[in-house]
């Protein structure tokens, strides 16, 4: 049983800059207003573990399951009888770079967790993806990263 929601933004940001946002712990906190802290190993590889802490919730362990530089990244959080994964992908098109973040639940309790946690995460996806690409652009321009106040809070 699979439950999935995703959001895509088209951008002029570069693959490299987006990839750096995806693989740098400090960028995760800047790009996701729901995150209070993130810790990632410096030499990320498939199977690497890190931790994330959302505001008001305990720290959780994440495991990287896919890392294709400049293309795709995915990490998972194990839940009782379900697996919560966050597939990230980017595709170059003639109109710009398509950056997609998804939230996916698999397993027996996927529908239940979809209602309990998935919908909330999905509502925040547009804001997160917009912040990722906006801050990737800012990185190129050398300006300070955008914050949730500057970005859109409607999706959170």
């Amino acid at each position: 049983m699979t439950w999935r929601r995703e959001h895509t933004e088209l951008t002029t940001a570069s693959r490299d800059a987006v990839w750096r946002r995806w693989t740098t712990a400090s960028a995760w906190v800047e790009d996701d207003p729901s995150l209070a802290a993130a810790e990632l190993p410096s030499d990320l590889r498939v199977g690497s573990r890190g931790t994330v802490k959302n505001h008001g919730t305990p720290r959780q362990t994440i495991t990287f399951t896919r890392l294709v530089p400049g293309r795709a990244m995915e990490f998972v959080i194990n839940l009782p009888l379900a697996r919560l994964s966050f597939p990230h992908s980017m595709t170059e098109t003639e109109h710009g770079l398509q950056v997609t973040h998804a939230v996916e639940l698999r397993g027996l309790l996927a529908p239940l967790f979809g209602v309990l946690v998935g919908n909330g995460i999905a509502r925040g996806l547009p804001e997160v993806v917009r912040l990722v690409v906006t801050n990737a652009l800012a990185e190129r321009a050398g300006s300070a990263p955008a914050t949730a106040e500057q970005g859109d809070r409607a999706g959170s």
Partner: protein, 467 residues
């Protein structure tokens, strides 16, 4: 040093309101001079050409009841055509794209709640006297809350609140949480109701100008000739009861009366000597302009029409949240106009031009398919970043800013009179309101000058010389 020239009326601001005031004052036999800070006339109406196609960058639409702007346009030879309104509208809401007819999109069970809120707002708006919102029953309580706060108090559904956020962004350039409920109700009443304000057929979006709305301002300015000075901001106004001395960086001009036809917040850019009453300064601070931007994509053809779509769309995804078919009259090209506003609009305004373009086109593609990603031309206009208009489309007073300050919007101070769409007694916030306010200010000035002349003749000790 030569004596500054003397005119009956100096008008500050060559937007539609200021130009109308000057034109009408001239018709009434008064001598005028118009100072405009920007290097063009028009204020919040402006246009350009993209891929050979004319687009209105500012005020665009007119509708039934907006007879003053329509009359002015007709007088200067600018004609109207109907906004394209054939076929289905499209909405992207909660990740689903649907077609619909009419103004209100198909939002499932929430539609009943939207209807309930709309009816309640319409009823409440009718209780607010036009031109005197501070005299509405319970005015202070209405003014003490925002539209957003009131919606929550009414237990409006999330969908209804989100929908009214879109209305608020388009109308006042801010979210429902940032605009006074009393202002909203008064504004709606001045438009004759929500339907009149929001509808295309039969409403304020019914028509466009063939030559563009900016052309109205250009032609009025041409009629006024040398009286209009662009690129000449007024820096200081010395005034007393008899008149004023208006200063710019290039010189000064004496005037029996001054009409300030600028957005409320822009009044702060001028130094007054003596200072205006404190409430005027406070009002200018607490009536900021909204933040609304417009994106235009020009296509080889209006391809959405072939799909049976009207070009009118609504999206909760952004950055473009409302679209219209703004294709030129009798032309093969198609033009999609998108409004960008609210918190997402502010972030979008900060982006480089190429990124703004990509994101706006992606919004169009969300509603109309991948062909929308391939325009032959694109332009956007960020009114929130315009240095001389004070934002757009109009002022958005926050909670508590209407009851204490509304009466200061248009009440003359000595020889200083006020115009601008915000001061209008109907269609405030629209081009029609700008024209009405300009006409009212001109008549007001004539009466004031006539009254002064009468009293001067009656009192031989008065010199009657302006400042």
């Amino acid at each position: 040093m030569s004596t500054p020239p003397l005119v009956d009326v100096v008008v500050v601001g060559a937007g539609l309101s200021g130009l109308t005031a000057a034109r009408r004052a001239t018709q009434l036999g008064l001598t005028t001079r118009v100072y405009e800070a920007a290097d063009r006339v028009g204020g919040r109406v402006w246009s350009t050409t993209v891929a050979g196609v004319h687009v209105d960058l500012g005020g665009t639409f007119v509708g039934p009841g907006q007879d003053r702007i329509v009359a002015l346009a007709a007088e200067v030879g600018v004609s109207l055509y109907d906004t394209y309104d054939t076929g289905a509208n499209v909405v992207r809401w909660r990740s689903q794209v649907k077609r619909y007819r009419g103004t209100v999109p198909p939002l499932g069970a929430a539609l009943l709640d939207v209807a309930r809120i709309q009816a309640t707002i319409e009823r409440a708006a009718r209780q607010v006297p036009c031109g005197r919102p501070q005299d509405a029953p319970g005015a202070a309580a209405l003014d003490a809350q925002t539209l957003g706060g009131w919606l929550r108090q009414q237990h409006a559904s999330r969908t209804a609140r989100d929908l009214f956020d879109l209305v608020s962004r388009t109308t006042w350039g801010c979210d429902a949480d940032h605009v006074s409920l009393l202002h909203v109700l008064h504004y709606i009443h001045l438009c004759g109701g929500l339907s009149s304000m929001l509808d295309t057929a039969g409403g304020a979006q019914e028509s466009h100008f063939v030559q563009g709305s900016h052309e109205v301002a250009v032609r009025v300015a041409e009629q006024l000739g040398d009286a209009v000075r662009t690129d000449e901001p007024v820096t200081r106004i010395d005034w007393d009861d008899d008149g004023a001395l208006v200063h710019t960086d290039r010189g000064s001009c004496r005037a029996r009366r001054v009409v300030l036809a600028v957005a409320p917040t822009m009044r702060r850019k001028i130094r007054f000597n003596p200072e205006l009453p404190a409430a005027h300064e406070q009002m200018a601070q607490r009536w900021p302009g909204g933040v609304l931007s417009k994106a235009y994509a020009v296509y080889e053809t209006p391809f959405w029409r072939e799909q049976g779509l009207s070009g009118q769309g609504l999206s909760d995804r952004g950055p473009v949240f409302i679209t219209f078919d703004a294709s030129p009259h009798q032309s093969r090209e198609g033009v999609l106009l998108g409004f960008v506003g609210g918190p997402q609009g502010r972030a979008w305004d900060e982006l480089p031009e190429a990124e703004r373009r990509v994101r706006a086109l992606a919004s169009f593609a969300d509603l109309y398919g991948p062909k929308a990603l391939e325009p032959i031309g694109y332009i956007d206009q960020k009114w929130g970043a315009d240095p001389w208009t004070g934002g757009g489309p109009c002022a958005a007073p926050s909670a508590g800013a209407v009851v204490p300050y509304y009466s200061h919007l248009a009440t003359p101070v000595g020889p200083l009179h006020w115009a601008g769409t915000e001061t209008a007694d109907r269609w405030s916030g629209f081009m029609d309101g700008a024209v009405r306010a300009g006409e009212r200010a001109a008549v007001e000035v004539l009466r004031s000058i006539s009254t002064q002349a009468d009293s001067t003749q009656a009192d031989p000790t008065t010199e009657g010389a302006p400042a």
